[in-house]
């Protein structure tokens, strides 16, 4: 505070001497320059000037009829996010659940236990990252991308089947990667964190004089993990509930992107090995090694061009591959269980945008996707090496999907827009399906936008569903209604509010003897409010609250669906402006476990210090997560320990993390 007073006085003549001193020290003093001052600055000097804090508030890229939440590279640094799950947990109305195997995302009534991060879509530069076996989006260390390579993450709430088809039921997480020119050097990075966790990364980025841009990056993570205590297994036979030395994790990631004019080639690969310290299946034996391997890769080639005659084209060709392997000991005569799942697919998407008419922007196109390999294998082995053929399962599936889509944005009045669209998806094993959307957008002034939408989305049964529900397999549907209002108080502050209702139908209902019928329906309603500010002095703040109520297929309050979610983030440069401090608080309201116990609400705080600017190519950040060492539990996504009254997982206490980057 005292420093602030001095700063105000410094502009008065009283501290002129100090000012001269300062000038001598820093080489130059740049005074606040208004437009009148800038006109006198020669152009070659003008281009050298630093430009502050972009256009105060971040604009959304996606042209979506819902209120988009955005986390930028600045936020990722300021709040010390390490995985996509951290980013998602910071967003309005969303939360994540960690079962020490994967992290799962929830929000708006979605995210029931046992539901992998499915029913949402995670896109990296337009490529859909979910695997077709489980429709899982990987948001933890098994995910495809290092956050250091991310320019921004947008969360587009609401359904997206009208554009993306299958599985875009809850919303879309849109990841935009950075460009080579954002690095323009070789950057080496090293990280160290609690539980013997280390990461190394090398990234090379360059923009060439002809406009070509290259980004290459590789990283690896090793984590020893912890010895964990599980009260549910606290018996002498189970090592008193201690799982020792079986919480390690490692991953390797490679990413490359080349772009020139409208042409982009992008590829990524990740392989993650995690030892699971819990007992996630009934037959699993507690405190025995259970190792899972996840591998994801893709190649995405796209070309954007102006065809003339007001017609624009985007062509995309992609290949994807997913592999899962696991080995564990089970409580059975055939004591070795092994899973080996594989998926490979490719697709072609051709999109056109026609701007032939003054008030219409017409988008249309087609996509063909070939899931030519969907392989699920579960096998069981006796200790002497014989296979238990009776219980081993090998399922192979495939699917071709052909889709057409058409959408028109009709600006029928200076302040009004009507957005109408539909997508038709025909899969080789399913009936064709239409996903429509209608949205009305009203802008009474340039600061205010109101959006109302109605949409329908669907999800095709994935390979795992087909293998599990057999003849009962069926697509699932959702009808969503949403109203959003966005108002910029001025160029620095924005308020956002949304109201929504989701009605899901054709959900699987358990009848008896392992039989299911797709007749269930459920409902989620909610309200979300957000305030966001980026002041010119470098202080940034965001705060949001979400109130939601969702019921499951039995009409009961949904499991693992908190009624209240709160987020609060503020970051500011410390005096001297060399270091930024970021403080984050998250409130996760009370929610029900699988056995319908209610877990109390919990507030968590994170604190991060990060360097604002590079010093001789060096930059660093230091984070403390769960600052006040709160002891808390999350709903366990798997059948835990029936009868013990314990069906929640205890999460980590305070952890530390340090990162240092060096630009060569």
């Amino acid at each position: 505070m005292t420093l602030r007073v001095h700063r105000h006085r410094s502009v008065s003549g009283a501290l002129l001497r100090l000012g001269v001193l300062a000038a001598a020290l820093a080489g130059r003093v740049a005074l606040a320059a208004g437009p009148a001052d800038l006109s006198a600055v020669p152009f070659d000097q003008l281009v050298q000037r630093e430009v502050v804090s972009a256009s105060a508030l971040v604009r959304q890229i996606s042209n979506s009829p819902s209120a988009v939440a955005i986390v930028t590279a600045d936020d990722i640094r300021a709040y010390g996010y390490r995985t996509l799950a951290d980013v998602i947990s910071s967003m309005r109305g969303l939360y994540t659940t960690n079962d020490r195997r994967y992290q799962y995302m929830g929000g708006r009534g979605f995210g029931a236990p046992g539901d992998y991060t499915g029913r949402i879509m995670v896109l990296i530069d337009g490529y859909q990252t979910q695997d077709p076996l489980f429709n899982q989006a990987y948001i933890d260390e098994s995910g495809l991308i290092d956050l250091a390579l991310v320019e921004r993450v947008e969360y587009v709430p609401g359904t997206g089947s009208v554009i993306y088809g299958n599985n875009a039921m809850l919303g879309i997480i849109n990841i935009v990667t950075r460009k080579g020119s954002d690095f323009n050097t070789l950057q080496l990075s090293s990280e160290a964190g609690s539980h013997d966790t280390y990461r190394q990364r090398a990234t090379f980025g360059k923009r060439f004089d002809n406009g070509a841009d290259v980004l290459l990056s590789a990283s690896s993570l090793q984590s020893q993990g912890q010895n964990l205590h599980f009260p549910a297994y606290d018996t002498p036979a189970n090592n008193h509930g201690w799982a020792n030395g079986i919480d390690d994790e490692r991953n390797r990631r490679v990413f490359g992107k080349f772009s020139y004019e409208g042409f982009t080639v992008e590829a990524a690969h990740v392989e993650r090995r995690k030892t699971v310290p819990t007992k996630p299946m009934k037959l699993a034996v507690f405190n025995t090694p259970f190792v899972i391997d996840d591998e994801n890769s893709y190649l995405n080639v796209s070309y954007e061009t102006d065809l003339g005659l007001h017609l624009y084209s985007t062509s995309r060709l992609y290949f994807g591959r997913y592999a899962y392997d696991s080995q564990r000991t089970i409580d059975d005569a055939a004591s070795n269980a092994q899973r080996k799942h594989r998926a490979e697919w490719w697709g072609l998407d051709q999109k056109f945008v026609g701007k032939w008419f003054a008030h219409h922007s017409i988008m249309f196109g087609m996509e063909y996707r070939n899931d030519y390999n969907q392989y699920l294998s579960r096998s069981y082995w006796y200790p002497d090496g014989r296979i238990d053929a009776a219980s081993s399962v090998k399922d192979a599936y495939s699917r071709n999907t052909t889709s057409f889509y058409l959408a028109d944005e009709y600006r029928f009045h200076e302040r009004w827009r009507l957005n109408v669209g539909a997508r038709y998806d025909k899969a080789s094993d399913l009936e064709g399906n239409w996903s429509p959307r209608v949205a009305l957008i009203y802008q009474p002034g340039f600061r205010t936008t109101l959006k109302a939408s109605y949409s329908e989305a669907f999800r095709m049964p994935n390979a795992d569903d087909r293998s599990f529900y057999l003849s009962g397999t069926a697509p699932e549907y959702v009808v969503a209604k949403e109203f959003a209002i966005q108002h910029d108080l001025d160029r620095r502050m924005r308020m956002t509010g949304t109201l929504y209702e989701y009605r899901r139908s054709k959900q699987q209902v358990y009848i008896s003897d392992g039989h299911y019928v797709p007749t269930g329906s459920s409902l989620a309603r909610g309200l979300e409010l957000e305030f966001e500010a980026r002041w010119d002095n470098g202080v940034r703040a965001r705060s949001s609250g979400a109130w939601q109520h969702s019921t499951d297929i039995a009409g009961l309050d949904a499991v693992n669906s908190p009624n209240v979610l709160g987020k609060f983030q503020v970051s500011a440069p410390l005096p001297g402006k060399g270091v930024r401090v970021g403080i984050e608080a998250q409130y996760l309201g009370s929610r029900l476990t699988d056995e319908r116990r209610r877990l109390g609400g919990v507030a968590l705080a994170n604190l991060t210090f990060s360097s604002e600017r590079k010093w001789n190519g060096l930059s660093a950040s230091f984070s403390i997560r769960n600052l006040f060492d709160r002891d808390y539990e999350v709903v366990s996504p798997f059948t835990w320990a029936p009868g013990t009254g314990i069906d929640a997982l205890r999460m980590d206490g305070r952890t530390y993390w340090f990162q240092i980057n060096y630009d060569l």
Binding site: V29, P35, L38, F43, E50, D306, E414, R491, G576
Partner: protein
């Protein structure tokens, strides 16, 4: 005491340095400079029109340059809400909110000598594209577009541009051989 003052002075200078220029003020300053750094064909108009479309902030910042002089002409700032009057513009700035109109703008202008400048837009559709990179405002120049509009950028512009897109190969160019 002296050390303390020194420290304080150092901090103040850092804080002052960090103040920088806001993005829209900088964009307005660029537009003002472009008015001097490109050559327009002879015009008999008394006024030089700088039009701003789709960006209120840049429009407001540009207002500070109203009535300044450029090559004997009086600068007039017009903040547009539609594309209808764009054929009267000498410089047309297209903000992010109006980038979707670029194809239409391009066909409305044809070979008209209007310098189109856009924010975060593909370079093929404008003469100058602005982009914020590493806290600096960069600009790319599309010579093909300039040629079509009979505008000549001065050398300093090409020198300071991040990227210069050359006129298409094989296009007829003026003979360099004196007759």
């Amino acid at each position: 005491m002296r050390a303390l003052l020194l420290l304080l002075g150092f901090w103040i200078s850092l804080a002052a340095n960090a103040q920088g220029v806001s993005e829209h003020d900088m964009k307005a300053a660029y537009l003002y400079n472009f008015a001097h750094l490109f050559e327009w064909p002879e015009s008999r108009r008394a006024n030089f029109h700088i039009c701003i479309l789709g960006d209120e902030e840049v429009g407001a910042a540009m207002q500070g340059y109203d009535e300044k002089r450029v090559n004997g002409q009086r600068m007039v700032i017009a903040r547009l809400s539609t594309t209808t009057p764009i054929r009267l513009c000498d410089i047309l700035y297209v903000g992010a909110a109006a980038v979707g109109n670029l194809p239409k703008i391009r066909s409305m202008l044809g070979g008209q000598p209007t310098l189109t400048v856009a924010d975060r837009a593909p370079l093929q559709s404008v003469a100058v594209a602005l982009a914020l990179e590493n806290q600096h405002l960069m600009f790319d120049v599309n010579l093909e577009h300039c040629e079509r509009a009979s505008l000549k950028p001065k050398l300093i512009v090409l020198g300071l541009a991040r990227l210069v897109r050359k006129a298409a190969e094989g296009e007829p160019k003026g003979s360099a051989v004196p007759r």
